[in-house]
Symmetry: C4
Subunit: 274 residues, 4 copies
C-alpha cells in the first residue's frame, strides 16, 4: 500500500496560455431528487471551482432555482427532459452520477440511460447510484473509465463484503473483478486501482458532516475533466480535498463542504506555483 | 439557582478521529409554514453549523427553494409527504418541532404525529408547537427527553402562570409537574430542570430581533445530536449562543441570528481547544 | 433652512438591557409586484438591519422565495391573502408601502386598504404608492403620522409643482397643506416638516443607482419602529444613509444599496457608543 | 493594429455631483432560457456593478427567483410578456441580447422584436443571438450602434470565415461589410471597428470558464449606458475585464466570472481617481 503525498498535486500545473473553456472539459452532473437536491448542488460547486470548463447539472426541477441562486456558472437541465439529456450527455467528457439521485423510478432510468450510452465519457459513480448498481447488479460498460466513490456501507452493497470484514486484501480482490477504480471513503480514505492500493492520511473529523462526499465527487469529476484521465487526477482530488479540509479545520470545529469548494481556487493556485 | 459559566462549554471536545457523519447524529427539524418559513431556515443553519451530522428539514413546499439556496447541506421533505416523514422521523436521534410551524391544521397534524411516534428521539419544542400543546393540553410521551424553549408569553400559555406572576418558585413547580426541561427565554434566560435552576447571565439587547430564538433552538438540537443527551448540552448551547451574541455585539448594534450561526464553528473550535 | 449634522444621530443610543424583540417595533412592508420585487427586498434588508424587531413583508408570490433566500429574518405574506394582511396590519406600529408596488389593480387595493385602516400606525409612503395617491387624489387619514419619500418626479405628481419650478418656498407651501412629512430625494435630499426645512449635505453620485431610495425608505421605517416616532428618527435615517454611502464610496465607484444595509449595524454601533 | 493600454480607462471619471440614477442609463438585458439562465444572471451582475443606472432583465420565468435572490437591484420581466417588453424596451438606452438566449422559437421572436424596434438604443449582441442572426441571415437596422461579442466559433458563423482561416485582414474585411463593431473573444481578444483593429494583451487562462463572456457582455453594456456611446467605452470594458481577471488570478487558479463583477466597483474607483 502506498501513501498519498503532496507530490500527487504536481499534476496541478499553470494552465496553457492559449486555452478556452472547452480546453478544460465538458462535464455532466446527474443527481438531486426532490429530497436530496443539496447533494448535487454541492458537487456542482466543487466541480466548477475545481476548474471544469463547462458544467451542466441534470436534476429534479425543484433544484433548479436554488442551484442557480448559488451558482449561475452552471447550466441546468430538468431530469425529465429526455431529448436535452441525450444531447448534453453526448458531448460530455466526464459524467458524475449519484449525489442525491435517490432510488426512485426516474433515478434508475437515468442511471440505465448513461450506462447504456457511455462512450468516451469517464464516469464517477457516487451515492444512490452505487446502491442502484449493487441492488440491480448492473454491469459497467467501460469499467476502466469508471470511478466508484462509496462510503463503507455503499461498498458493502457493491462488494458484498460486510463492513466488519472489509480489509485491503478483500477490497483489492473485488476491485480486480470490477476493474473500476474504488475510492473507499472513511476517516482514512483508500483508493483501489489495478496499479495498487493508495491511502490518504489527511482529513479530520470536522469533515464528518453531510455533503463532504458530494464535494469530493465533484472535485474528482472536475479534475478528470481538465487533468489526465487516469489515476493521477483521482489521487490529486482525494488528497487536496482532505488537505483543504485540514487547513480549514484549524479554525473551525465543523468544516462545511461548501467551504472546501470556496477555498479550492486559492489552494490550486498555491500548488500550481509551488 | 446556579449561574452558567464558561465551564459548561467543556463538553465541546475535539472530535474522535475515527468518526463519520452518523457519529454526530441524525436530526429532523419540523417547522416553517407559508408565512414563517424563515424561522425553520434559521434553526437549520444553526443546527448544521453546530455540527449535527445529518439534518432533514420537514417544511411547507414554499420554503424548499430558499432553504436550499442558503443551505445545501440539509435534506428537505415536503410537510405533506406523510410516508417520507415517517421514514425520516423513525431514524432520527433528535427532533426539533415548532419554529414557524404555525397553528393551522397541518401544523397540528405534524405535532400529533411526532408526539405519537416519539421513541428514542429527544425533542426540542419551540414556538408555535408550544402554543399548540398548551391550547390542546397535549401530553408528552417522554417528558424527560423533552426540552421546551418558550419565551415568556409562550410559557404563560404552557404553565398557566401569567407573565407578571412568573417567578422561579412557580416556574420550578410547573417544571416539576411537566418533567420536561424548560429553557425560559428572556434577556436573562433561565433553565428549569429536575437538577435545579440555571441562569444565563450573558446576552445583550442587540439580540432582541426576530429569529434569535429559532437559532437557539437549532443549536440546542445540534448539541443534543452530538454531545451528551442531557442537561449539559442544553447548558452549553444556551451559554454559547449568548456568548457569541455578545462577541458580535461589540461591533454591531443589531446581531442578526444568522451571524451567530456563521460564527459557531469558529467559537466551538476555540473552546474545544481551550 | 437647517442643515443636518452628525448631532442628529444622537437618538441612536445603547439599547435598554431588559428588552425583547417586541420592544423594537412591529413593521409591515408592502410592495414588490411581479416586475419590481427587488425594491421591497432591499427595503426589507434595510429595515431588518436597522434594528426593527419584527418585520413582515406583504408582496407578490413571485418574490417569496428570493426574499427568503436573502433574508430569513422576515415573515412573508402573499399580497392576495386578505385575511392575513388584515391580521398583520392590525398589530403593526409602522407601515411602509410603495417600493416596487406598481400601479396595477392589486397595488391600488392594498393602498386603499391601509389608508382605510390606519390607526396607531405611522406610514412611510414611497415609490408607486406616491404616484397612486397623486393620480387618484387620495386623502391621508393621519397626515401627521405620514412620511412621503418622493424623488423629484414623484414630488411633481404629488405636489403638482413641475420639477423645474420646485423650490423651497413652494415645496414648503405644499407640505403645509398636506401636513405629512416630505423627504424629497435628490443629490441633496431635503426634508419638509412643520418645524422647518432640513437639508442633507451628505451623499454622493456613486449612490445614483436603482434601489438606493428603497433602502432609505426601509431605514426610515426601521428607525420609526424603534426610535421616537417623530422627525428626529427621519433626520437620523436620512443622514446615516448618506453617511454610510459616503464611507462606502471611498472605495467603490458604485455603492450598491444592499451594501449600505450590510454596513448599518456596524455604523449604528459606532454612533451609539460615540 | 493598436494595443489597448491602461490609458483607455481614462473614460472612467468621477461622476458628476448633481446626478441621479437616470443619468447612468436605462438598460435592457434579454436572455436566459430554461437551460442557460445563469448566463443572463452573470451579465446582469456585471452590468449593475459596472454602474448602469436602471437595469431590467427580460428572461424565462424559471430565472426570476434565482436572479432576484442574487441581485435585487434589477427589475425582471417574463420573456412571454409582450406588452411589458415593448414598454421597457422603448425607454432603454442600451440593449444586450443573447446570453443564454437559446435557439428556440421564443428566442427568435425576441431577437426579431428588438431588431425591428431598434431606435436610439445601442445593441450588444452576444451568444445565441449571434448564432440566430448568422443562421437566419438577419440584417441589422443600425449597425453603427451595434456591437457583436462572438467567440471564434460564433464569428465563424457570422463571418463565414472558418476558425482556421480567421486572420486580421479577413476579419477586418467582414467588419467593414457588417459595419458593426466586433469584439472577437479569445485568449487575446481583438476589437474590429471602422477606426482600426485593437488588441487586448491582458487576460489569463484562469478566466477560461463558463460565464466569462457573459460577464464581459454585461460590462460593455453597462459602460455604454453611462460612458460615451462609442468605441472608447468598448475599449475600456474589454481592457478592465481582463485587467481585473489578471488581478484575481494572482491568487486563484480559476477566476469565477461573478468574482470579476464583485471586484468591479473597487477597480473603477481606483481608476477614476488615478
Amino acid at each position: 500500500m502506498k501513501q498519498l503525498t503532496e507530490k500527487c498535486l504536481e499534476i496541478i500545473q499553470p494552465r496553457p496560455k492559449n486555452s478556452h473553456k472547452g480546453t478544460f472539459g465538458r462535464v455532466v452532473l446527474i443527481g438531486g431528487n426532490a429530497q436530496y437536491g443539496g447533494a448535487i448542488m454541492m458537487s456542482a460547486e466543487a466541480c466548477v471551482r475545481s476548474g471544469a470548463g463547462l458544467v451542466t447539472v441534470i436534476t429534479h426541477s425543484k433544484n433548479h432555482a436554488p442551484l442557480h441562486a448559488r451558482l449561475p456558472e452552471v447550466m441546468v437541465v430538468d431530469w425529465q427532459d429526455e431529448d436535452l439529456i441525450a444531447d448534453v450527455f453526448a458531448t460530455a467528457d466526464v459524467c458524475l452520477i449519484g449525489p442525491g439521485l435517490g432510488l426512485e423510478k426516474r433515478s434508475k432510468e437515468l442511471l440505465a440511460f448513461v450506462l447504456q450510452k457511455q462512450d468516451k465519457q469517464w464516469f464517477v459513480i457516487d451515492g444512490s447510484a452505487i446502491t442502484l448498481i449493487s441492488e440491480d447488479n448492473l454491469s459497467l460498460p467501460k469499467p476502466k473509465q469508471t470511478v466508484f466513490t462509496p462510503h463503507q456501507m455503499e461498498w458493502q452493497r457493491l462488494s458484498h463484503i460486510p463492513i466488519s470484514e472489509q480489509n485491503q486484501q478483500l477490497n483489492q480482490y473485488v476491485q480486480q473483478k470490477l476493474q473500476a477504480t474504488i475510492v473507499l471513503k472513511s476517516h482514512r480514505t483508500e483508493i483501489y486501482h489495478h496499479t495498487g492500493i493508495y491511502q490518504n492520511l489527511l482529513g479530520n473529523p470536522g469533515m464528518a458532516t453531510g455533503g463532504t462526499g458530494d464535494t469530493l465527487a465533484g472535485m474528482i469529476t472536475g479534475f478528470l475533466a481538465q487533468f489526465p484521465k487516469d489515476i493521477t487526477s483521482i489521487h490529486a482530488a482525494v488528497y487536496l480535498h482532505s488537505y483543504i479540509g485540514d487547513q480549514l479545520a484549524k479554525e473551525r470545529y465543523v468544516v462545511l463542504p461548501t467551504e472546501i469548494s470556496a477555498a479550492l481556487p486559492f489552494w490550486m493556485n498555491y500548488f500550481a506555483n509551488a
